[in-house]
Protein backbone atom coordinates (compact mmCIF):
# COMPACT_ATOMS: atom_id res chain seq x y z
CA UNK A 1 0.00 0.00 0.00
CA UNK A 2 1.12 3.51 -0.74
CA UNK A 3 2.27 5.98 1.89
CA UNK A 4 0.04 8.68 0.38
CA UNK A 5 -2.91 7.55 2.44
CA UNK A 6 -5.01 10.70 2.30
CA UNK A 7 -4.40 12.14 -1.15
CA UNK A 8 -7.38 14.03 -2.51
CA UNK A 9 -7.41 15.09 -6.14
CA UNK A 10 -9.25 17.16 -8.70
CA UNK A 11 -8.76 16.80 -12.45
CA UNK A 12 -9.89 19.53 -14.85
CA UNK A 13 -9.68 19.85 -18.61
CA UNK A 14 -6.64 21.76 -19.78
CA UNK A 15 -8.41 24.64 -21.52
CA UNK A 16 -8.95 28.40 -21.35
CA UNK A 17 -12.11 28.12 -19.23
CA UNK A 18 -10.40 26.04 -16.59
CA UNK A 19 -7.26 28.17 -16.30
CA UNK A 20 -8.64 30.74 -13.80
CA UNK A 21 -9.85 27.84 -11.65
CA UNK A 22 -6.51 26.04 -11.79
CA UNK A 23 -4.74 29.28 -10.84
CA UNK A 24 -7.13 29.80 -7.95
CA UNK A 25 -6.39 26.29 -6.69
CA UNK A 26 -2.66 27.07 -6.86
CA UNK A 27 -3.17 30.29 -4.91
CA UNK A 28 -5.41 28.82 -2.21
CA UNK A 29 -3.58 25.50 -1.84
CA UNK A 30 0.15 26.31 -1.78
CA UNK A 31 1.06 22.68 -1.04
CA UNK A 32 -0.96 21.22 -3.89
CA UNK A 33 0.93 19.26 -6.52
CA UNK A 34 -0.16 20.29 -10.02
CA UNK A 35 0.56 17.96 -12.93
CA UNK A 36 -0.05 18.81 -16.59
CA UNK A 37 -0.90 15.69 -18.63
CA UNK A 38 -2.15 15.47 -22.24
CA UNK A 39 -5.51 17.29 -22.31
CA UNK A 40 -5.88 17.56 -18.55
CA UNK A 41 -4.52 19.00 -15.32
CA UNK A 42 -4.37 16.89 -12.18
CA UNK A 43 -4.20 18.72 -8.83
CA UNK A 44 -3.57 16.72 -5.70
CA UNK A 45 -2.99 17.51 -2.05
CA UNK A 46 -2.76 15.79 1.30
CA UNK A 47 -6.12 15.64 3.08
CA UNK A 48 -7.87 18.65 1.61
CA UNK A 49 -8.21 20.74 -1.55
CA UNK A 50 -10.20 23.94 -1.83
CA UNK A 51 -11.70 25.84 -4.74
CA UNK A 52 -12.65 29.28 -3.50
CA UNK A 53 -15.29 31.29 -5.37
CA UNK A 54 -13.79 34.68 -4.51
CA UNK A 55 -10.33 33.73 -5.78
CA UNK A 56 -11.75 32.37 -9.04
CA UNK A 57 -13.79 35.56 -9.52
CA UNK A 58 -10.68 37.69 -8.98
CA UNK A 59 -8.81 35.71 -11.65
CA UNK A 60 -11.76 35.68 -13.99
CA UNK A 61 -12.89 39.28 -13.56
CA UNK A 62 -16.55 38.35 -13.38
CA UNK A 63 -19.04 36.64 -11.10
CA UNK A 64 -18.61 32.87 -10.99
CA UNK A 65 -21.09 30.25 -9.88
CA UNK A 66 -19.29 27.41 -8.08
CA UNK A 67 -21.40 24.92 -10.00
CA UNK A 68 -19.80 26.12 -13.26
CA UNK A 69 -17.01 23.83 -12.13
CA UNK A 70 -19.09 20.95 -13.52
CA UNK A 71 -18.37 22.11 -17.07
CA UNK A 72 -14.66 21.36 -16.95
CA UNK A 73 -14.52 18.64 -14.36
CA UNK A 74 -12.91 15.34 -15.33
CA UNK A 75 -12.57 13.50 -12.06
CA UNK A 76 -12.02 13.83 -8.35
CA UNK A 77 -11.27 11.78 -5.28
CA UNK A 78 -12.51 12.61 -1.79
CA UNK A 79 -15.64 13.61 0.07
CA UNK A 80 -17.25 16.73 -1.34
CA UNK A 81 -18.57 19.76 0.47
CA UNK A 82 -20.06 22.36 -1.83
CA UNK A 83 -21.90 25.61 -1.12
CA UNK A 84 -22.21 29.12 -2.64
CA UNK A 85 -18.66 30.09 -1.69
CA UNK A 86 -16.50 27.05 -2.08
CA UNK A 87 -16.01 23.56 -3.41
CA UNK A 88 -13.99 21.47 -1.01
CA UNK A 89 -12.65 17.92 -1.33
CA UNK A 90 -11.35 16.11 1.73
CA UNK A 91 -10.67 12.78 3.39
CA UNK A 92 -11.55 13.04 7.07
Amino acid sequence: MSDKKNTVFLILQDNEDARPIIEAVEQDNPDANIQYQPGMVRMEAAGRLLVNRVTVEENLGREWDVQELHLNLISLGGNIDEDEDKFEISWR
Binding site: S2, L71, I74, E82
Partner: protein
Amino acid sequence: MPAKKLNLRKRYELLTRGMGWETTYQKMDDVFPYDSFEGIKITDWDKWEDPFRLTMDSYWKFQAEKEKKLYAVIDSFAQNNGQTNLACASYLSAIKLFITGVTPLEYGAHRGFAHLGRHFRGDGARIACQMQAIDELRHAQTQVHTISHYNKHFSGLHDPFHQFDRVWYLSVPKSFIEDAMSSGPFEFITSISFAFEYVLTNLLFVPFMSGAAYNGDMATVTFGFSAQSDESRHMTLGLEIIKFMLEQHEDNLPIIQRWMDKHFWRAYRLLGLVAAMQDYMLTNSPMSWKEAWEVYFVENGGALFEDLSRYGLKMPKYHELATAEADHISHQIWSVFCSLGNATGFHTFLPTEEKMAWLSEKYPDTFDKYYRPRFEYWAEQKKAGTFEYQKGLPQLCQVCQIPMVFTEVQTDPMQISYRVTEHGGDKYHFCSDGCKDIFEHEPEKYVQAWLPVHQIYQGNCGGPTLPEVLDWYKFKPEDSGDYIGSKDYHRWQEWKGADKKVKQA
Protein backbone atom coordinates in the same frame (compact mmCIF):
# COMPACT_ATOMS: atom_id res chain seq x y z
CA MET B 1 -39.11 43.88 -3.25
CA PRO B 2 -38.26 40.71 -5.23
CA ALA B 3 -37.78 37.59 -3.17
CA LYS B 4 -34.14 36.89 -2.34
CA LYS B 5 -32.70 33.95 -4.29
CA LEU B 6 -32.67 30.87 -2.09
CA ASN B 7 -29.35 29.34 -1.25
CA LEU B 8 -28.14 26.07 -2.73
CA ARG B 9 -29.00 23.95 0.29
CA LYS B 10 -32.55 25.31 0.48
CA ARG B 11 -33.20 24.91 -3.23
CA TYR B 12 -31.95 21.33 -3.16
CA GLU B 13 -34.14 20.59 -0.15
CA LEU B 14 -37.22 21.91 -1.90
CA LEU B 15 -36.48 19.72 -4.90
CA THR B 16 -35.84 16.51 -3.05
CA ARG B 17 -38.05 16.57 0.04
CA GLY B 18 -41.78 16.18 0.16
CA MET B 19 -42.10 15.22 -3.51
CA GLY B 20 -42.95 11.68 -2.47
CA TRP B 21 -45.74 10.69 -0.14
CA GLU B 22 -47.02 7.73 1.86
CA THR B 23 -49.38 5.99 -0.54
CA THR B 24 -52.82 4.93 0.69
CA TYR B 25 -54.63 3.39 -2.31
CA GLN B 26 -51.77 0.93 -2.68
CA LYS B 27 -49.36 -0.41 -0.09
CA MET B 28 -45.93 1.26 -0.19
CA ASP B 29 -44.34 -2.19 -0.57
CA ASP B 30 -46.40 -2.76 -3.71
CA VAL B 31 -45.45 0.62 -5.14
CA PHE B 32 -41.77 -0.04 -4.42
CA PRO B 33 -41.53 -3.81 -4.76
CA TYR B 34 -37.78 -4.14 -5.35
CA ASP B 35 -36.03 -2.23 -2.59
CA SER B 36 -36.33 -4.68 0.30
CA PHE B 37 -35.58 -8.23 -0.89
CA GLU B 38 -31.83 -7.72 -0.89
CA GLY B 39 -31.80 -7.29 2.87
CA ILE B 40 -30.55 -3.68 2.95
CA LYS B 41 -32.21 -1.87 5.85
CA ILE B 42 -33.08 1.81 5.41
CA THR B 43 -34.66 3.53 8.38
CA ASP B 44 -34.66 7.14 7.19
CA TRP B 45 -34.44 8.07 3.50
CA ASP B 46 -34.32 11.76 4.47
CA LYS B 47 -30.74 11.28 5.62
CA TRP B 48 -29.88 10.91 1.94
CA GLU B 49 -28.06 13.93 0.59
CA ASP B 50 -26.43 14.72 -2.73
CA PRO B 51 -23.29 16.75 -1.97
CA PHE B 52 -23.49 18.57 -5.33
CA ARG B 53 -27.01 19.71 -4.47
CA LEU B 54 -27.74 20.05 -8.16
CA THR B 55 -31.27 21.25 -8.91
CA MET B 56 -33.16 20.50 -12.11
CA ASP B 57 -32.81 24.02 -13.56
CA SER B 58 -29.03 24.04 -13.09
CA TYR B 59 -28.79 20.50 -14.38
CA TRP B 60 -30.46 21.40 -17.69
CA LYS B 61 -28.47 24.62 -17.96
CA PHE B 62 -25.08 22.97 -17.51
CA GLN B 63 -25.89 19.92 -19.63
CA ALA B 64 -27.08 22.15 -22.47
CA GLU B 65 -23.83 24.06 -22.33
CA LYS B 66 -21.77 20.85 -22.39
CA GLU B 67 -23.70 19.65 -25.45
CA LYS B 68 -23.26 22.95 -27.27
CA LYS B 69 -19.51 22.84 -26.77
CA LEU B 70 -19.27 19.21 -27.77
CA TYR B 71 -21.23 19.56 -31.01
CA ALA B 72 -19.25 22.66 -32.00
CA VAL B 73 -16.06 20.60 -31.77
CA ILE B 74 -17.58 17.62 -33.59
CA ASP B 75 -18.72 19.87 -36.47
CA SER B 76 -15.35 21.51 -36.90
CA PHE B 77 -13.63 18.13 -36.62
CA ALA B 78 -15.72 16.84 -39.53
CA GLN B 79 -15.23 20.00 -41.62
CA ASN B 80 -11.48 19.96 -41.16
CA ASN B 81 -11.06 16.23 -41.81
CA GLY B 82 -9.80 15.72 -38.28
CA GLN B 83 -9.34 12.01 -38.95
CA THR B 84 -6.18 12.79 -40.91
CA ASN B 85 -4.48 14.18 -37.81
CA LEU B 86 -4.36 10.85 -36.00
CA ALA B 87 -0.96 9.48 -35.01
CA CYS B 88 -1.72 6.36 -37.07
CA ALA B 89 -4.88 4.62 -38.34
CA SER B 90 -3.95 1.52 -36.30
CA TYR B 91 -4.86 3.59 -33.25
CA LEU B 92 -8.50 3.22 -34.32
CA SER B 93 -8.54 -0.36 -33.05
CA ALA B 94 -8.91 1.24 -29.62
CA ILE B 95 -11.90 3.27 -30.83
CA LYS B 96 -13.45 0.17 -32.41
CA LEU B 97 -13.17 -1.68 -29.13
CA PHE B 98 -14.57 1.37 -27.34
CA ILE B 99 -17.69 1.83 -29.49
CA THR B 100 -18.51 -1.89 -29.47
CA GLY B 101 -17.54 -2.63 -25.86
CA VAL B 102 -18.07 0.56 -23.85
CA THR B 103 -20.84 2.53 -25.57
CA PRO B 104 -23.39 -0.26 -25.06
CA LEU B 105 -22.37 -0.25 -21.39
CA GLU B 106 -23.40 3.40 -21.24
CA TYR B 107 -26.76 2.42 -22.66
CA GLY B 108 -27.08 -0.40 -20.13
CA ALA B 109 -26.24 2.04 -17.34
CA HIS B 110 -28.98 4.34 -18.69
CA ARG B 111 -31.55 1.54 -18.45
CA GLY B 112 -30.39 0.53 -14.99
CA PHE B 113 -30.55 4.03 -13.56
CA ALA B 114 -33.92 4.71 -15.17
CA HIS B 115 -35.15 1.64 -13.27
CA LEU B 116 -33.66 2.91 -9.99
CA GLY B 117 -35.05 6.39 -10.65
CA ARG B 118 -38.47 4.79 -10.40
CA HIS B 119 -37.91 2.17 -7.75
CA PHE B 120 -35.95 3.70 -4.88
CA ARG B 121 -38.29 4.71 -2.09
CA GLY B 122 -36.39 7.90 -1.21
CA ASP B 123 -37.07 10.95 -3.44
CA GLY B 124 -33.52 12.35 -3.15
CA ALA B 125 -31.97 9.12 -4.37
CA ARG B 126 -34.59 8.80 -7.12
CA ILE B 127 -33.74 12.23 -8.49
CA ALA B 128 -29.99 11.52 -8.50
CA CYS B 129 -30.68 8.30 -10.42
CA GLN B 130 -32.97 10.05 -12.89
CA MET B 131 -30.28 12.62 -13.67
CA GLN B 132 -27.75 9.85 -14.12
CA ALA B 133 -30.12 7.92 -16.40
CA ILE B 134 -30.28 10.97 -18.68
CA ASP B 135 -26.50 11.43 -18.49
CA GLU B 136 -25.81 7.84 -19.50
CA LEU B 137 -28.16 8.07 -22.48
CA ARG B 138 -26.34 11.26 -23.48
CA HIS B 139 -23.01 9.40 -23.27
CA ALA B 140 -24.20 6.58 -25.51
CA GLN B 141 -25.63 9.06 -28.05
CA THR B 142 -22.67 11.43 -28.16
CA GLN B 143 -20.26 8.52 -28.55
CA VAL B 144 -22.26 7.19 -31.49
CA HIS B 145 -22.47 10.67 -33.05
CA THR B 146 -18.76 11.35 -32.66
CA ILE B 147 -17.53 8.00 -33.84
CA SER B 148 -19.94 7.96 -36.80
CA HIS B 149 -17.51 10.38 -38.42
CA TYR B 150 -14.77 7.71 -38.32
CA ASN B 151 -17.28 5.19 -39.64
CA LYS B 152 -17.32 7.10 -42.94
CA HIS B 153 -13.63 6.43 -43.44
CA PHE B 154 -12.65 3.26 -41.58
CA SER B 155 -13.69 -0.37 -41.11
CA GLY B 156 -15.19 -2.06 -38.06
CA LEU B 157 -17.40 0.72 -36.71
CA HIS B 158 -20.70 -0.09 -38.39
CA ASP B 159 -22.74 -2.31 -36.05
CA PRO B 160 -21.75 -1.88 -32.40
CA PHE B 161 -25.08 -2.74 -30.80
CA HIS B 162 -25.68 -5.81 -32.95
CA GLN B 163 -22.18 -7.02 -32.10
CA PHE B 164 -22.40 -6.33 -28.39
CA ASP B 165 -25.02 -9.07 -28.04
CA ARG B 166 -23.05 -11.66 -30.01
CA VAL B 167 -19.28 -11.28 -30.32
CA TRP B 168 -17.05 -13.53 -28.20
CA TYR B 169 -14.97 -10.84 -26.48
CA LEU B 170 -17.90 -8.41 -26.15
CA SER B 171 -19.68 -10.89 -23.92
CA VAL B 172 -17.17 -9.73 -21.28
CA PRO B 173 -18.67 -6.21 -20.89
CA LYS B 174 -22.17 -7.50 -21.69
CA SER B 175 -22.14 -10.09 -18.92
CA PHE B 176 -20.75 -7.50 -16.50
CA ILE B 177 -23.54 -4.95 -17.01
CA GLU B 178 -26.27 -7.59 -17.24
CA ASP B 179 -25.08 -9.16 -13.99
CA ALA B 180 -25.62 -5.77 -12.34
CA MET B 181 -28.91 -5.08 -14.15
CA SER B 182 -30.37 -8.42 -13.08
CA SER B 183 -29.55 -7.71 -9.42
CA GLY B 184 -31.63 -5.70 -6.98
CA PRO B 185 -31.37 -1.88 -7.00
CA PHE B 186 -28.91 -1.62 -4.11
CA GLU B 187 -26.57 -4.16 -5.62
CA PHE B 188 -26.85 -2.45 -9.01
CA ILE B 189 -25.85 0.91 -7.60
CA THR B 190 -23.03 -0.62 -5.53
CA SER B 191 -21.75 -2.31 -8.66
CA ILE B 192 -22.04 0.52 -11.16
CA SER B 193 -21.75 3.71 -9.09
CA PHE B 194 -19.27 2.54 -6.53
CA ALA B 195 -17.17 -0.44 -7.69
CA PHE B 196 -17.11 0.62 -11.33
CA GLU B 197 -17.48 4.40 -11.37
CA TYR B 198 -15.83 5.40 -8.11
CA VAL B 199 -13.13 2.81 -7.69
CA LEU B 200 -12.26 1.96 -11.30
CA THR B 201 -13.68 4.36 -13.91
CA ASN B 202 -10.68 6.67 -13.74
CA LEU B 203 -8.66 3.79 -15.15
CA LEU B 204 -10.93 3.65 -18.17
CA PHE B 205 -11.59 7.27 -19.01
CA VAL B 206 -8.69 9.32 -17.75
CA PRO B 207 -5.71 7.53 -19.33
CA PHE B 208 -7.79 6.61 -22.37
CA MET B 209 -8.89 10.19 -23.09
CA SER B 210 -5.45 11.48 -22.30
CA GLY B 211 -4.25 8.79 -24.73
CA ALA B 212 -6.66 10.07 -27.37
CA ALA B 213 -5.22 13.58 -26.90
CA TYR B 214 -1.74 12.10 -27.26
CA ASN B 215 -2.68 10.42 -30.54
CA GLY B 216 -4.35 13.37 -32.22
CA ASP B 217 -7.90 12.09 -31.72
CA MET B 218 -9.56 15.33 -30.69
CA ALA B 219 -13.08 14.00 -31.37
CA THR B 220 -12.70 11.28 -28.77
CA VAL B 221 -11.05 13.62 -26.30
CA THR B 222 -14.03 15.91 -26.57
CA PHE B 223 -16.82 13.37 -26.10
CA GLY B 224 -14.74 11.62 -23.47
CA PHE B 225 -14.20 14.68 -21.36
CA SER B 226 -17.79 15.78 -21.87
CA ALA B 227 -19.00 12.42 -20.52
CA GLN B 228 -16.40 12.49 -17.80
CA SER B 229 -17.70 15.83 -16.50
CA ASP B 230 -20.88 13.92 -15.56
CA GLU B 231 -18.82 11.09 -14.18
CA SER B 232 -17.62 13.09 -11.18
CA ARG B 233 -21.25 13.44 -10.18
CA HIS B 234 -21.78 9.69 -10.69
CA MET B 235 -18.73 8.83 -8.61
CA THR B 236 -19.96 11.08 -5.85
CA LEU B 237 -23.34 9.38 -5.97
CA GLY B 238 -21.52 6.04 -5.60
CA LEU B 239 -19.62 7.15 -2.53
CA GLU B 240 -22.71 8.76 -0.98
CA ILE B 241 -24.88 5.67 -1.43
CA ILE B 242 -22.24 3.46 0.19
CA LYS B 243 -21.90 5.79 3.18
CA PHE B 244 -25.69 6.15 3.39
CA MET B 245 -26.29 2.38 3.46
CA LEU B 246 -23.52 1.85 6.00
CA GLU B 247 -24.86 4.60 8.25
CA GLN B 248 -28.45 3.38 8.07
CA HIS B 249 -27.97 -0.02 9.70
CA GLU B 250 -25.06 -2.14 10.89
CA ASP B 251 -26.58 -5.24 9.27
CA ASN B 252 -25.88 -3.67 5.89
CA LEU B 253 -22.09 -3.93 6.24
CA PRO B 254 -21.57 -7.64 5.40
CA ILE B 255 -23.93 -7.41 2.42
CA ILE B 256 -22.12 -4.39 1.04
CA GLN B 257 -18.70 -5.92 1.65
CA ARG B 258 -19.69 -8.99 -0.38
CA TRP B 259 -21.10 -6.87 -3.23
CA MET B 260 -17.97 -4.75 -3.13
CA ASP B 261 -15.72 -7.82 -3.36
CA LYS B 262 -17.78 -9.26 -6.19
CA HIS B 263 -18.18 -6.18 -8.35
CA PHE B 264 -14.65 -4.97 -7.83
CA TRP B 265 -13.42 -8.27 -9.22
CA ARG B 266 -15.90 -8.29 -12.10
CA ALA B 267 -15.16 -4.67 -13.07
CA TYR B 268 -11.43 -5.25 -12.71
CA ARG B 269 -11.53 -8.29 -15.03
CA LEU B 270 -13.46 -6.22 -17.58
CA LEU B 271 -10.78 -3.54 -17.42
CA GLY B 272 -8.26 -6.11 -18.63
CA LEU B 273 -9.50 -5.11 -22.10
CA VAL B 274 -8.62 -1.51 -21.28
CA ALA B 275 -5.16 -2.56 -20.13
CA ALA B 276 -4.49 -4.07 -23.57
CA MET B 277 -5.92 -0.98 -25.24
CA GLN B 278 -3.71 1.33 -23.22
CA ASP B 279 -0.42 -0.52 -23.60
CA TYR B 280 -0.76 -1.92 -27.12
CA MET B 281 -3.53 -0.34 -29.20
CA LEU B 282 -2.56 3.27 -28.56
CA THR B 283 0.20 4.24 -30.98
CA ASN B 284 1.66 6.47 -28.28
CA SER B 285 0.72 5.68 -24.68
CA PRO B 286 0.92 8.55 -22.20
CA MET B 287 0.94 6.16 -19.25
CA SER B 288 1.20 2.39 -18.86
CA TRP B 289 -1.58 0.26 -17.37
CA LYS B 290 0.68 -0.48 -14.41
CA GLU B 291 1.33 3.22 -13.78
CA ALA B 292 -2.37 4.02 -14.03
CA TRP B 293 -3.15 1.17 -11.63
CA GLU B 294 -0.60 2.48 -9.11
CA VAL B 295 -2.04 5.99 -9.16
CA TYR B 296 -5.76 5.37 -9.51
CA PHE B 297 -6.18 2.16 -7.60
CA VAL B 298 -3.30 1.67 -5.17
CA GLU B 299 -2.94 5.32 -4.20
CA ASN B 300 -6.37 6.89 -4.74
CA GLY B 301 -8.36 3.73 -4.03
CA GLY B 302 -6.20 3.22 -0.94
CA ALA B 303 -7.15 6.66 0.38
CA LEU B 304 -10.82 5.93 -0.32
CA PHE B 305 -10.83 2.65 1.62
CA GLU B 306 -8.80 4.22 4.40
CA ASP B 307 -11.67 6.73 4.76
CA LEU B 308 -14.33 4.01 4.61
CA SER B 309 -12.56 1.87 7.21
CA ARG B 310 -14.36 3.88 9.90
CA TYR B 311 -17.51 2.02 8.86
CA GLY B 312 -15.70 -1.31 8.97
CA LEU B 313 -15.54 -1.65 5.17
CA LYS B 314 -12.33 -3.35 4.02
CA MET B 315 -10.37 -3.21 0.78
CA PRO B 316 -12.00 -5.53 -1.79
CA LYS B 317 -10.95 -9.16 -1.63
CA TYR B 318 -8.09 -10.14 -4.00
CA HIS B 319 -6.98 -6.54 -4.52
CA GLU B 320 -3.38 -7.65 -3.83
CA LEU B 321 -3.65 -10.12 -6.70
CA ALA B 322 -4.98 -7.41 -9.00
CA THR B 323 -1.96 -5.27 -8.13
CA ALA B 324 0.43 -8.19 -8.74
CA GLU B 325 -1.31 -8.86 -12.08
CA ALA B 326 -0.69 -5.27 -13.22
CA ASP B 327 2.68 -6.45 -14.54
CA HIS B 328 1.05 -9.06 -16.78
CA ILE B 329 -2.53 -8.64 -17.92
CA SER B 330 -2.11 -6.18 -20.80
CA HIS B 331 0.49 -8.48 -22.44
CA GLN B 332 -1.64 -11.56 -21.88
CA ILE B 333 -4.82 -10.07 -23.30
CA TRP B 334 -3.15 -8.50 -26.32
CA SER B 335 -1.59 -11.91 -27.03
CA VAL B 336 -5.07 -13.46 -27.07
CA PHE B 337 -6.31 -10.87 -29.54
CA CYS B 338 -3.25 -11.30 -31.78
CA SER B 339 -3.60 -15.08 -31.79
CA LEU B 340 -7.31 -14.83 -32.68
CA GLY B 341 -6.91 -11.76 -34.89
CA ASN B 342 -8.89 -13.36 -37.73
CA ALA B 343 -11.97 -13.21 -35.47
CA THR B 344 -11.77 -9.69 -34.03
CA GLY B 345 -13.76 -6.70 -35.28
CA PHE B 346 -10.64 -4.52 -35.12
CA HIS B 347 -7.14 -4.89 -36.50
CA THR B 348 -4.35 -6.45 -34.50
CA PHE B 349 -0.65 -5.73 -34.94
CA LEU B 350 2.52 -6.82 -33.22
CA PRO B 351 4.30 -4.20 -31.15
CA THR B 352 6.95 -2.27 -33.10
CA GLU B 353 10.59 -2.15 -31.92
CA GLU B 354 9.87 1.29 -30.51
CA LYS B 355 6.80 0.03 -28.64
CA MET B 356 8.72 -2.95 -27.26
CA ALA B 357 11.46 -0.67 -25.97
CA TRP B 358 8.76 1.35 -24.18
CA LEU B 359 7.19 -1.83 -22.75
CA SER B 360 10.60 -3.05 -21.50
CA GLU B 361 11.07 0.25 -19.73
CA LYS B 362 7.58 0.26 -18.20
CA TYR B 363 7.59 -3.43 -17.28
CA PRO B 364 11.21 -4.14 -16.34
CA ASP B 365 10.37 -7.26 -14.33
CA THR B 366 8.15 -9.00 -16.84
CA PHE B 367 8.15 -7.80 -20.45
CA ASP B 368 11.59 -8.98 -21.61
CA LYS B 369 11.41 -12.14 -19.56
CA TYR B 370 7.95 -13.44 -20.45
CA TYR B 371 6.34 -11.53 -23.29
CA ARG B 372 8.92 -10.06 -25.67
CA PRO B 373 10.07 -13.52 -26.83
CA ARG B 374 6.49 -14.41 -27.77
CA PHE B 375 6.00 -11.27 -29.86
CA GLU B 376 9.40 -11.65 -31.51
CA TYR B 377 8.64 -15.27 -32.35
CA TRP B 378 5.36 -14.28 -33.98
CA ALA B 379 7.13 -11.49 -35.87
CA GLU B 380 9.62 -14.00 -37.27
CA GLN B 381 6.80 -16.31 -38.29
CA LYS B 382 4.97 -13.49 -40.01
CA LYS B 383 8.11 -12.59 -41.90
CA ALA B 384 8.59 -16.19 -42.99
CA GLY B 385 4.91 -16.52 -43.87
CA THR B 386 4.36 -19.37 -41.42
CA PHE B 387 2.21 -17.56 -38.83
CA GLU B 388 -1.18 -19.15 -38.23
CA TYR B 389 -4.09 -17.98 -36.14
CA GLN B 390 -5.30 -20.29 -33.41
CA LYS B 391 -7.49 -23.04 -34.82
CA GLY B 392 -9.60 -24.06 -31.85
CA LEU B 393 -11.79 -21.87 -29.70
CA PRO B 394 -10.53 -20.96 -26.25
CA GLN B 395 -11.98 -22.15 -22.96
CA LEU B 396 -13.80 -19.30 -21.21
CA CYS B 397 -14.17 -18.44 -17.54
CA GLN B 398 -17.77 -19.10 -16.51
CA VAL B 399 -18.04 -15.73 -14.73
CA CYS B 400 -15.93 -13.05 -16.44
CA GLN B 401 -16.11 -14.89 -19.82
CA ILE B 402 -12.50 -14.02 -20.67
CA PRO B 403 -10.46 -16.82 -22.30
CA MET B 404 -8.35 -18.66 -19.74
CA VAL B 405 -5.13 -16.71 -20.21
CA PHE B 406 -4.38 -15.32 -16.80
CA THR B 407 -1.51 -16.96 -14.95
CA GLU B 408 -0.37 -17.65 -11.41
CA VAL B 409 1.51 -14.36 -11.17
CA GLN B 410 2.32 -14.72 -7.49
CA THR B 411 3.88 -18.18 -7.79
CA ASP B 412 4.53 -19.22 -11.40
CA PRO B 413 3.74 -16.64 -14.09
CA MET B 414 4.03 -19.27 -16.83
CA GLN B 415 1.31 -21.47 -15.34
CA ILE B 416 -2.29 -20.81 -16.43
CA SER B 417 -4.51 -19.96 -13.48
CA TYR B 418 -7.23 -22.55 -13.58
CA ARG B 419 -10.02 -23.20 -11.07
CA VAL B 420 -12.90 -25.62 -11.25
CA THR B 421 -16.02 -26.42 -9.25
CA GLU B 422 -18.97 -28.79 -9.57
CA HIS B 423 -22.61 -27.87 -9.50
CA GLY B 424 -25.62 -30.04 -10.31
CA GLY B 425 -23.36 -32.75 -11.68
CA ASP B 426 -21.59 -30.41 -14.13
CA LYS B 427 -18.11 -28.94 -14.03
CA TYR B 428 -17.55 -25.19 -14.28
CA HIS B 429 -14.22 -23.51 -15.02
CA PHE B 430 -12.80 -20.21 -13.78
CA CYS B 431 -9.85 -17.93 -14.39
CA SER B 432 -9.32 -17.06 -10.73
CA ASP B 433 -10.44 -17.53 -7.16
CA GLY B 434 -12.30 -14.22 -7.50
CA CYS B 435 -14.51 -15.53 -10.32
CA LYS B 436 -14.92 -18.93 -8.60
CA ASP B 437 -16.12 -17.28 -5.36
CA ILE B 438 -18.70 -15.26 -7.29
CA PHE B 439 -20.04 -18.41 -8.94
CA GLU B 440 -20.19 -20.40 -5.72
CA HIS B 441 -22.23 -17.73 -3.97
CA GLU B 442 -24.92 -17.66 -6.70
CA PRO B 443 -24.47 -20.77 -8.86
CA GLU B 444 -28.08 -20.69 -10.12
CA LYS B 445 -27.35 -17.33 -11.71
CA TYR B 446 -24.06 -18.17 -13.39
CA VAL B 447 -24.94 -21.62 -14.74
CA GLN B 448 -27.19 -19.66 -17.12
CA ALA B 449 -24.29 -17.63 -18.55
CA TRP B 450 -24.37 -17.26 -22.36
CA LEU B 451 -20.81 -18.32 -23.13
CA PRO B 452 -19.97 -17.50 -26.75
CA VAL B 453 -17.72 -20.53 -27.27
CA HIS B 454 -20.35 -22.96 -25.98
CA GLN B 455 -22.99 -21.23 -28.08
CA ILE B 456 -20.88 -21.56 -31.23
CA TYR B 457 -20.37 -25.27 -30.57
CA GLN B 458 -24.08 -25.71 -29.92
CA GLY B 459 -24.79 -24.23 -33.34
CA ASN B 460 -26.46 -21.05 -32.16
CA CYS B 461 -24.15 -18.55 -33.86
CA GLY B 462 -24.77 -18.69 -37.57
CA GLY B 463 -23.11 -22.00 -38.42
CA PRO B 464 -20.19 -24.31 -37.73
CA THR B 465 -17.46 -22.49 -39.69
CA LEU B 466 -15.59 -19.31 -38.84
CA PRO B 467 -16.88 -17.33 -41.88
CA GLU B 468 -20.45 -18.19 -40.89
CA VAL B 469 -19.91 -17.06 -37.32
CA LEU B 470 -18.23 -13.83 -38.43
CA ASP B 471 -21.07 -13.20 -40.81
CA TRP B 472 -23.55 -13.69 -37.97
CA TYR B 473 -21.51 -11.10 -36.02
CA LYS B 474 -21.85 -8.77 -39.06
CA PHE B 475 -18.06 -8.60 -39.31
CA LYS B 476 -17.08 -7.70 -42.85
CA PRO B 477 -13.96 -9.34 -44.29
CA GLU B 478 -12.06 -6.03 -44.11
CA ASP B 479 -12.80 -5.57 -40.40
CA SER B 480 -10.52 -8.35 -39.11
CA GLY B 481 -6.90 -9.45 -39.41
CA ASP B 482 -3.59 -7.64 -39.44
CA TYR B 483 -3.56 -3.88 -39.62
CA ILE B 484 -0.71 -4.00 -42.10
CA GLY B 485 -2.18 -4.70 -45.49
CA SER B 486 -5.73 -3.89 -44.40
CA LYS B 487 -8.12 -1.48 -46.10
CA ASP B 488 -7.56 1.00 -43.25
CA TYR B 489 -3.83 0.68 -43.74
CA HIS B 490 -3.98 1.36 -47.48
CA ARG B 491 -6.30 4.32 -47.00
CA TRP B 492 -3.92 5.76 -44.43
CA GLN B 493 -0.93 5.31 -46.77
CA GLU B 494 -2.82 7.16 -49.48
CA TRP B 495 -3.40 10.08 -47.14
CA LYS B 496 0.00 10.13 -45.55
CA GLY B 497 2.33 9.07 -48.33
CA ALA B 498 5.12 6.55 -48.14
CA ASP B 499 7.08 7.92 -45.17
CA LYS B 500 4.73 6.44 -42.56
CA LYS B 501 4.91 3.04 -44.26
CA VAL B 502 8.52 2.59 -43.24
CA LYS B 503 7.75 3.38 -39.61
CA GLN B 504 4.90 0.90 -39.20
CA ALA B 505 6.23 -2.04 -41.19
